[in-house]
Amino acid sequence: MRKFTTFTGVAAPMPAQNIDTDKVIPARFLKTIERKGLGKHLFNDMRYNTDGTEKEGFILNQPAYRNAEVLVVGDNFGCGSSREHAPWALSDFGVKCLIGTDFADIFFNNSSKNGMLLIKLPKPIVDALMEDAKLGANARLTIDLEAQEITRPNGEVVKFEVDPFKRHSLLNGLDDIGLTFKNKEDITSYESKDGSSRPWMPSLAAE
């Protein structure tokens, strides 16, 4: 996983509530066996007309926001499916950070596993950042995970909280599986204890 480093980028406003994973990446684009290449279908049905031309009104089609790296989003963004295609599509597009009041649980987890930072802040602060994000080419936010700070276009600094484990993994680009393997002995001892306490558990070994 790539390391999360401090950056300054354009933030796009997406105030709609409950943007679900089917909006982020419609199911018909899940027919891929790779992680890459989904960025072109990010928000597909909001972003393109049925003939494939761009919808003018959609925020990421506007010149100032075509390379947005931050999204300031409405409540409950990412609800719906567990598909990691949603964070893959966002990340492939170039999004590194999402800011909102609240995210759907699985989406939240999946995003950090793909090097993206999701920041939860109280409503009044999100509202203020949403206003910042409306500044077009001037909608630039600096995201500093090390210091847990967002710098607004007016220079004001907003602090945010983040799970220390996630922060550590993001900053160092750590792979969860590698970390878990360090505790292999614990897993083995759990298995041997459990094998004797629940002997009726099913085994699919014969399939």
Partner: protein, 469 residues
Amino acid sequence: MAKPRTLFDKIWANHVVRTEDDGTALIYIDLHLAHEVTSPQAFAGLREAGRKLRRPDRTLAVADHNIPTTDRSKGIEDPESRLQVETLEANVKEFGVPYFPVDDIRQGIVHIIGPEQGLTQPGMTVVCGDSHTSTHGAFGALAFGIGTSEVEHVFATQTLVQKPAKNMRVTVKGAPPAGTTAKDLILAIIGKIGTAGGTGHVIEFAGDAIKNLSMEGRMTVCNMSIEAGARAGMIAPDETTFEYLKGKPYAPKAGAWEQAVQYWSSLPSDPGAVYDTEVELDAADIVPYVTWGTSPQDALPITATVPKAEDFPDPDRQAGIARSIEYMGLTGGMPIQDIKVDTVFIGSCTNGRLEDIRAAAAIAKGRKVASSVKALVVPGSGLVKEAAEAEGLDKILIEAGFEWREPGCSMCLAMNADKLKPGERSASTSNRNFEGRQGPGGRTHLVSPAMAAAAAIKGHLADVREFLA
């Protein structure tokens, strides 16, 4: 005395492999189900790192999302769908994963076949790269959907890194009126708490109305926990659960059975257990429900009218309602029963079990699907299909004008050939009415199987109670 614990607390405690200082835990996974859409990148990750599957004996793979529900002998026409299924088949061989092939009678939707085979049992942890894994919670298991990175993590380590969830109890007391099914209960619950109402929580469904449901009905309720934003849904195991499991292929065999039942009986929440959030509904108030909009929380009684955007004070909510009404091609204030449908879909992991097909057939019997409606019934698995045919349900439905299909996810998410065209409208027994879920531009109204059958016959959303007289 020990602190009273909830069902969730007990299962969690039984599966902790180790805990970090900040409360993050490594949790052991008892059963891992995999399908073709969310697994290819996980297998690729294993291959790149030279890793193996830790517990193939606790893993089962099946293809369900992409497969055609019409004649299977022709194979899969769509090249991308075919590639996903072929990739799964190659991966299960390479990594030695137990697999139910497409032509196996046991093939079906992953959340239908786990319970059907007796693989899902009380007190287990069950995961799958699919949010509707919550279905398995009906057995008193802790079951939740995971992303592909986590699928890879479970393949390699049989564990997951998790934070404990908060406990929420949704009690539905009393008895529901005639015509109200498990689907109506869960739609009413989501309508009440909203799609983010359960965020961060595991919901335990309780109360007489839940306890009196069959296992099938309980699965319908737990299936849609995710639509309430919850990490998982669960129901305490009891005699109904044990009765369902007894004799299933992977259920504990004689000898081990008594020991298992004894353990399972220790799982229900202790009296006095404390929940972080409590919600209560009275089943007597819950009539047949339907969704009118593009979020599962847009659920209303069938007798209601489509809301008007201006009735909502919050401007963001107002904009959302207006957007939904426009997308759905409706007018605020119109009676929901005036909404015409062109398509009816009965199936999915929410309502693709035998009981659901029976409910649809009971309404369809001796009646005809309206000429303007295309109606399909897609059984959840090969075994559901076989059982329905043994009861002659297929004949009743075909006679009434329904199409009788091969098992799979089908029009629930329109990854195979079954999809709505832009502007088309369905009454669907699935779980999501998001924009474009059943095909780009398609419009979805979520209902119970009986309500779907009623809509098929009437040609518009209809109150199933008219058919019960």
